[in-house]
């Protein structure tokens, strides 16, 4: 469980977080959204203690992050950065994935088992002897994810996971997140991708200029034009369509294609009856 209480943070006097409070329970799936520079990445770096709040506090599983090392916190909160090239360094994929396990001091036979498990889980088993630098972009991303999943953290935070991924890869990513979530993991994602969130995440935290401007169900937050504009996002396309059809009685908070289909079918039926 992550509890953030009124935290403030600035980089060399430039404020990045200005009084952020939120709570995320174990087993939740949450998307953190907002414009560039809203403070999303700064916020998630507080979750594993890479940054410590200058005011306020962050508690992770009851531990104040100021009183624990990054390594201790990372053991339970796995943070997957946007660019895999900022972490890949080992000679083989297998070694790359074993890196975190070694750092956390797992015994050799456990490391072996875990690496094998995660290689299979992420579909990387065929590539285990290859150099991480010889892989494609999508594969490198998967190695980066695998290197975090290998030590089985309770919370998994993805920073901009969908950037530069094609549609099929995005679908696979969503499936992976849901699978992890079904294993009682907490999934937190930072993203601009409205469609990705609408289809997969029940809760959205919307940030703007270092503050949380909305925190609630995806439907309430992402179909609200005022809120969405404030965070420089756009409404989901299907919501835009629904709003254009509001004169015909289509509800304005539609966010799924299936809902839109049902609403439109109802109108067609009504027209046919007339």
């Amino acid at each position: 469980m992550i509890e953030v209480h009124d935290i403030w943070f600035s980089y060399n006097g430039i404020p990045a977080l200005r009084g952020v409070s939120l709570k995320i329970e174990q087993g939740e799936m949450v998307a953190i959204m907002g414009e560039n520079g809203a403070g999303k990445t700064t916020l998630i770096k507080h979750f594993n203690g890479l940054l410590k709040p200058q005011k306020g506090y962050v508690r992770v599983f009851g531990i104040d992050t100021r009183e624990a090392s990054v390594a201790e916190l990372s053991r339970r909160v796995g943070l997957i950065f946007q660019n895999p090239d900022h972490q890949l360094f080992a000679e083989t994929v297998e070694e790359e994935i074993a890196f975190a396990l070694k750092n956390f001091g797992f015994p050799a036979e456990v490391i072996k088992k875990r690496v094998e498990w995660v290689l299979k889980f992420m579909g990387l088993y065929q590539l285990r002897d290859k150099s991480p630098f010889a892989l494609s972009g999508g594969e490198r991303k998967r190695v980066a994810i695998a290197s975090i999943l290998s030590y089985d953290p309770d919370v998994i935070v993805f920073d901009e996971p969908t950037v530069g991924q094609d549609y099929a890869q995005k679908e696979k990513l969503a499936q992976l997140m849901k699978l992890l979530w079904s294993r009682r993991k907490t999934i937190i994602v930072v993203t601009h991708d409205v469609e990705f969130v609408v289809e997969n995440f029940p809760r959205v935290i919307l940030m703007s200029a270092g503050k949380v401007v909305a925190d609630g169900s995806t439907r309430r937050v992402l179909t609200n034009p005022g809120l969405v504009r404030k965070a420089r996002l756009v409404l989901p396309q299907i919501t835009q369509l629904a709003r254009k059809l509001s004169d015909y009685g289509v509800p304005q908070d539609i966010m799924w294609v299936s809902e839109a289909r049902d609403a439109i079918l109802r109108i067609i039926e009504r027209c046919q009856r007339l």
């Binding site: 770096k45 594993n48 890479l50 090392s69 990054v70 390594a71 990372s74 053991r75 796995g78 943070l79 950065f81 660019n83 090239d85 900022h86 972490q87 890949l88 360094f89 080992a90 890196f99 975190a100 750092n103 956390f104 630098f133 290197s147 975090i148 030590y151």
Partner: protein
């Protein structure tokens, strides 16, 4: 990585920033020569103090402080090695010499526009390609520092503890930082080369320049000031003043210890 801050250019408009880069480079080199000429801690200290007003006038004093904070580790190594090899006086002198060199060159890099720098180098007779390579490598320093921080964050998130373990272990801890940093730098240089070629770099052998450097009155004044200071300090050496001061300093040290 904070040691790099002393070499990151900052756009400001002060007397020092407006000086011709050639004149500033001249000053830095004079100070560098002096740091090699002097060998006693008090004189090197004097030299160091004489550079400080430059930082004040250029409004970059905070940068210098951070650079020195960032180089404390290196400074400690220099001090310790010299201390055990030759004793306290020499250790102090070498540490101060290091500080003087850092200060004299960081005032140059902190206050010189990269484009002016390449112009200055060309005017000094260095071929354009080399000048450009040099300037670009400086330009990418902030980029590199940012990237290094990202990499450090990513590896710490995977449980890497940089300052844990024996000395050898600590050095080895930097492998997961350096490998991605170098790989990314090489990738970036290839990308930059492609971007430059697509903007017709090297299409014509005769290049014109947007800014033409010309020495102003303030530049001549500064040059006279730098030369005077250089000569005065040099005379202290020639007339044996350093010997006397160094002798006094030694006495004080022996009394204190």
């Amino acid at each position: 990585m904070r040691i790099l801050e002393g070499f990151q250019f900052e756009r400001k408009n002060t007397v020092i920033h407006r000086l011709d880069p050639r004149v500033k480079l001249f000053y830095s080199i004079l100070m560098f020569i002096l740091s090699m000429v002097f060998w006693s801690p008090p004189m090197l200290m004097l030299l160091f103090i004489s550079i400080l007003p430059m930082f004040y006038f250029a409004k970059v004093t905070r940068r210098l402080v951070r650079t020195i904070q960032g180089s404390i580790f290196l400074l400690a190594i220099i001090f310790l090695i010299n201390y055990f090899a030759t004793g306290l006086e020499r250790a102090l002198a070498m540490s101060l010499r290091f500080l003087v060199i850092i200060a004299s060159f960081s005032i140059f890099f902190l206050t010189t526009y990269p484009e002016d720098l390449s112009e200055a180098l060309i005017k000094l007779g260095i071929p354009y390609e080399f000048a450009l390579t040099f300037v670009m490598s400086i330009r990418f320093v902030p980029c590199l520092a940012r990237e290094a921080q990202l990499i450090i964050d990513a590896q710490r998130a995977r449980g890497l503890e940089l300052d844990k373990g024996s000395f050898i272990k600590r050095l080895r801890n930097y492998v997961p930082i350096l490998v991605p940093l170098i790989v990314n730098s090489i990738r970036r240089s290839i990308r930059v080369a492609e971007a430059m070629e697509s903007r017709a770099f090297g299409a014509s052998s005769r290049r014109t320049s947007l800014v033409e450097l010309k020495l102003k009155r303030s530049d001549y004044l500064f040059m006279i000031f730098a030369l005077t200071m250089f000569l005065v300090l040099l005379l202290l050496k020639v007339f044996g003043v350093e010997q006397v001061i160094a002798g006094l300093f030694k006495e004080i040290l022996t009394i204190l210890l």
